[in-house]
């Protein structure tokens, strides 16, 4: 006898698990066959936790080998691609993994995929995700039973490792990891620091959920469920009969009564949806039977075509505010999925802090239900239908401090509730002929009968009512009787008796124990009514304690937040540069260290500096950057006063105090004080200003003679530098073409600014360089741009050039004349100094009339070197420029 695939799988998997669907596939048309199966545990607490097993056939053996196990989680997907091809996808190592298969037996494929999809829907409603696997809240059985299958188990381990080490990095990774059950305070702060907005709330929520027992207590609540398909009996039955069913002296906290077929289900009835004389009559009858309003109060009385749903609660519970947020919603799933000949009315209520949902439904009849799983799809349709209804009262939650983090809000779907009761005429039949059923009934073999019950079978196969429970009815089938008698259907149809009327429950939080499950001998309808009593323990939140715990959780998050604030330390708080000379770079360093636990992006901001001048003389390297925790970086603060800075600084007192802002993205800021004494210099000032200073610039602050109105004919700085060249450099070889010594240049500038005499050792070339530097530091050249433009136009005419030049401002003219005379003097010694008029004209045309466009005054304080002389820049050119020509006129002229 050939073993079936299923048998082969069952040989491999644990006896505690069952195979729900199975199929033989290949990766490609020609590859080795594999077997994939949906496996779930048999026991009722975990039988919703499905996993997809992949098996490999062994060569020369019918025995299978587990190759891979993938827990079916919320993000699991299965997609039919057509032509027998399908694809499953799931998260693996935080990446979406897709596997494609081909199945030749298309007939089986449909039902296999349906099972997979069902399993995924269950996973969604139960919120199975990598976290729940990692924390052992779901799919613990996989590890427990198959951990020897090393290949297979890797996947599950991967999930666990990912979560525990917190290395998830995708968009949802943070919230998941950060809210990991065992992650409480030991969590990597880098991850927590990203918790903002909703993720933060969820983190608090999950932390609270872990400590739920600290601020909640369980409260007993008793519930009675009564269901009857009344078969459209004319008017309610007598009060005494009703009490026989509903109970005489009820002490239950909640009583829910569900009726089916309160009206005749003809086409006319489909239109009457909300209310009828029948439902009003039932309301009155039930109310008086259970003791409304003295003992009970009606919460909901609602009709939806043939279904009538009633919920009442003990007065005290309502008075004390134990029951809140009562909402009711009806959904049809009859003809076209809309009409109400079949359907359900769900009522939800918050009792203490648990959400309880009562679903009274009348599902489609007949054996088709099993074959096409129409009952199942009805259920899916109903259980996933939204509950966010606008009818029913809604009372807001307590004003408790942290109650917003506790799920007191109304779940959006039936399956979102903590405890669900699902009952009514579920219309499942017994898988046997009438005769057989009657035999079993007469033989009292209810257990055997129950094994043939379609609802039981379907539930065991995991097709419907996953997570729901039902105790085996120890009463006879409730359907179908000849109304008014105790005889099962004697009509032509000779229907087989069945347990159509059922009460199931699903308890997700708290506890729920069934006290009794019975039928009642009311003969008015072709159905017998049933009832069940439950003792629940539901959660009650102790608001004060919730606030306490909530504050602790919130504080711990704040604490982490603050620990995660980027933080740096700079080993100095202020920097003093003492004397800063023109064009002399000074550097100081400081160590910037990331002392926080997260990376730091720092930036020095100069925009806030007073006068904005420091930007021109201060530079910071590197001004911004990234520091990892514990990393240090040397920061260089550099000052250098160039022409522009000198110009800006000249009106200011020499002692400069600035505050640098060191900004850390998302964290503290530090202020760094910068102190510098910028020594006054003639460099960078205009000719017209220089001539007002009779005393050396450095002391002009002391001798305020510049304001007296007396001006000198020539800036004394020009006069002194030119004089030094007259004295020392007329015969110097290639003077003006040589580099000056930086040290000597500094010394000469100091002498110029302070009035000190020039030392003997100073080389003529240094004076030449100092002079050129001074002329080029002028904000305006000696020959102003407008004059230059005029001269250039007339550059061929010596006389016209002279005329134009003679109309320059007197200071400019006298400087020009003085310089030309110096150059002429130099040319007299061309034998020794080897200068030519062309060379000098080239150099001095650039020095005396640099065009505006070439902004020679641009100071980059970060630039290192010092330009020694202008001749560095000047390339000898074969043809004369027009400016050069003008200069040549001057040099060759005798006038």
């Amino acid at each position: 006898m050939k073993t079936t695939l299923e048998d082969r799988v069952h040989k491999i998997i644990s006896s505690e698990d069952s195979c729900r669907a199975i199929i033989e596939v290949r990766k490609t048309k020609n590859s080795h066959p594999r077997v994939i199966a949906v496996i779930c545990p048999l026991d009722s607490t975990s039988h919703t936790e499905c996993a997809l097993f992949t098996f490999k056939s062994r060569v020369f053996s019918s025995k299978l080998m587990i190759r891979n196990i993938v827990p079916i989680l919320m993000d699991f997907k299965a997609e039919l691609l057509g032509d027998g091809q399908f694809e499953i996808s799931f998260q693996k190592k935080n990446k979406l993994k897709k596997v494609g298969y081909v199945c030749q037996d298309v007939a089986f494929l449909g039902s296999f995929l349906q099972t997979l999809l069902n399993a995924q829907q269950i996973a969604s409603s139960c919120k199975f995700d990598t976290l729940s696997v990692a924390t052992g809240k779901s799919h613990a059985w996989v590890l427990a039973r198959y951990s020897e299958e090393d290949q297979a188990i890797k996947h599950v381990y991967n999930i666990i490792q990912m979560n525990v080490t917190g290395k998830l990095s995708t968009q949802d990774g943070f919230s998941r990891t950060a809210s990991g059950a065992n992650a409480q305070l030991s969590i990597d702060p880098i991850i927590v620091s990203f918790l903002t907005g909703a993720a933060r709330s969820e983190w608090i929520h999950r932390q609270l959920m872990q400590r739920e027992d600290e601020f909640t207590e369980l409260r007993p609540v008793s519930v009675k469920i009564c269901s009857w398909n009344v078969g459209a009996v004319q008017g309610p039955v007598s009060a005494s009969q009703l009490q026989q069913w509903l109970g005489k002296d009820n002490d239950c906290d909640l009583i829910s009564v569900g009726l089916q077929e309160v009206v005749k289900l003809n086409t006319n009835a489909l239109m009457v949806k909300e209310s009828s004389s029948e439902s009003r009559a039932w309301l009155e009858a039930i109310s008086s039977a259970i003791g409304v309003p003295d003992k009970y109060m009606v919460l909901v009385s609602r009709q939806y075509v043939g279904i009538y749903h009633f919920l009442a609660a003990r007065r005290e519970l309502l008075v004390n505010g134990v029951i809140r947020d009562v909402q009711c919603k009806a959904a049809g799933c009859g003809i076209l999925g809309q009409f109400g000949n079949k359907g359900a009315i769900s009522i939800r209520a918050t009792v203490y802090n648990s959400g309880i949902c009562f679903v009274c439904s009348h599902l489609a009849a007949g054996k088709t239900q099993v074959a096409a799983e129409s009952g199942g799809s009805d259920l899916h349709q109903l259980s996933s239908s939204s509950l966010s209804s606008n009818d029913g009262s809604s009372i807001g939650p307590d004003g408790g401090n942290y109650s917003e983090y506790y799920p007191t809000d109304v779940p959006a779907t039936i399956e979102g509730h903590d405890i669900i009761f699902w009952y009514g005429d579920l219309n499942y039949r017994i898988e046997a002929g009438r005769q057989r059923v009657l035999e079993l009934i007469q033989g009292g073999s209810l257990e055997e009968l129950y094994n043939l019950d379609q609802l039981f079978q379907q539930r065991m196969e995991g097709n419907v009512f996953l997570g729901y429970k039902e105790t085996r009815p120890n009463f006879l089938p409730t359907y179908k009787y000849d109304a008014g008698t105790d005889d099962y259907d004697t009509s032509e149809k000779q229907r087989a008796p069945a347990w159509c009327d059922r009460i199931l429950w699903n308890c997700k939080r708290g506890s729920c124990k069934q006290e009794h499950y019975a039928r009642h001998e009311l003969t008015a309808s072709d159905h017998r009514p049933v009832s069940a009593k439950f003792n629940l323990e539901v959660t009650r939140v102790l608001t004060d304690k919730l606030s306490q715990v909530g504050e602790q959780v919130s504080r711990s998050l704040d604490h982490m937040d603050n620990q995660c604030t980027p933080n740096v330390e700079l080993d100095i708080k202020s920097i003093n540069f003492y004397d800063v000379h023109y064009r002399c770079t000074q550097k100081q360093s400081a160590m910037l260290r990331n002392t926080g636990q997260v990376f730091v992006h720092y930036r020095f901001i100069l925009d806030f500096l007073k006068e904005n001048s420091a930007k021109r003389w201060l530079s910071i390297e590197p001004r911004y950057g990234l520091l990892m925790p514990g990393e240090s970086r040397s920061i260089t603060f550099k000052v250098r006063v160039g022409d522009e800075a000198a110009r800006v600084l000249r009106g200011i007192k020499q002692e400069l105090q600035e505050t640098l802002v060191l900004q850390v993205e998302g964290g503290n800021t530090l202020f760094v004080s910068i102190t510098a004494r910028c020594l006054a210099t003639a460099y960078g000032r205009g000719l017209d200003e220089l001539v007002t200073h009779r005393y050396p610039i450095r002391y002009s602050g002391i001798h305020v003679d510049g304001k007296s109105g007396k001006v000198m004919p020539l800036p004394k700085e020009v006069w002194r530098l030119a004089g030094a060249i007259f004295e020392r450099g007329l015969k110097d070889d290639n003077i003006f073409l040589k580099y000056g010594e930086p040290k000597e240049l500094l010394e000469i500038r100091e002498c110029v600014d302070t009035g000190a005499p020039f030392a003997d050792h100073l080389a003529p070339a240094s004076f030449a360089a100092a002079l050129i530097q001074l002329l080029r530091s002028l904000p305006n050249p000696v020959i102003p741009p407008e004059v230059r433009v005029e001269c250039v136009k007339q550059h061929q005419s010596k006389e016209r050039c002279f005329r134009i030049l003679s109309q320059m401002p007197p200071i400019n003219l006298s400087v020009l004349v003085y310089l030309v005379s110096l150059l002429r003097e130099l040319l007299k010694h061309r034998e020794e100094n080897k200068l030519s008029p062309e060379t000098l004209a080239l150099i001095f045309s650039a020095v005396l009339m640099y065009p505006e466009t070439v902004d020679l005054s641009v100071d980059d304080p970060s630039s290192e070197g010092e330009l020694m002389t202008i001749s560095d820049d000047i390339e000898p050119r074969a043809d004369l420029t027009k400016e050069q020509a003008i200069l040549l006129h001057l040099l060759r002229s005798d006038g």
Partner: protein, 204 residues
């Protein structure tokens, strides 16, 4: 999802006042529950966050504790710009610090966010024997200027939480939720006036 995703409302709060009046101490008492007799002076601005749970909502303060020394005065706008609340602190043993506090209040009212909630805090209330500023004087000033007033002690923790909770209560709660939170960065280049939607001055 069962959890409600109500995220806390974020508010920028700045502490201003003369040096050594106890701004950092107030913040550290509030955030960490700590107090140090010798608290290093703040050179720069320290950033801390702390949530306050009110009955109906949760407020998350993004606190900027600024340097009090006068030489850093010009940098203060960087921190109070866009702040929803300001605590102006003075030392009850120093009349100078009270005068300085008044000028901070004036500056905030002139240049701060028009809806800014200002609280005047007379700190060091534990040093009653050295008191120079009478609470009545400060209270009267606060009433005239429509700002909150409380005497606090970072050392004994007196009124510290209360101060922040009172401010939290006064802040407008209809803050747009889509505004990105956790914006701890000070805006440097564009001085923008964060006009809060709710027209709620210190009096509401």
């Amino acid at each position: 999802m069962a959890a409600q995703n109500k995220s806390p409302l974020n508010f920028k709060l700045v502490l201003l006042g003369e040096g050594a009046v106890g701004k950092s101490s107030l913040v550290l008492r509030f955030v960490r529950g700590q107090f140090f007799d010798y608290q290093e002076s703040t050179i720069g601005a320290a950033f801390l966050t702390q949530t306050v749970a009110l009955n109906d909502t949760t407020v998350k303060f993004e606190i900027w504790d600024t340097a009090g020394q006068e030489r850093y005065h010009s940098l203060a706008p960087m921190y109070y710009r866009g702040a929803a609340a300001a605590i102006v602190v003075y030392d009850i043993t120093s009349t100078d610090s009270f005068a300085r506090a008044k000028s901070w209040v004036r500056e905030l009212q002139r240049q701060g966010n028009p809806n800014i909630v200002i609280a005047l805090a007379g700190n060091k209330s534990d040093l009653a024997s050295k008191r120079k500023v009478e609470p009545d004087e400060a209270r009267q000033y606060a009433e005239e200027n429509n700002i909150m007033f409380m005497e606090t002690s970072a050392k004994t923790a007196s009124n510290v939480n209360e101060l922040f909770v009172q401010i939290a209560r006064k802040l407008p709660k209809q803050q747009q939720q889509d505004k990105p939170s956790g914006s701890a960065n000070i805006k440097v280049n564009e001085p923008k006036q964060d006009a809060k939607a709710n027209n709620c001055s210190g009096s509401c």
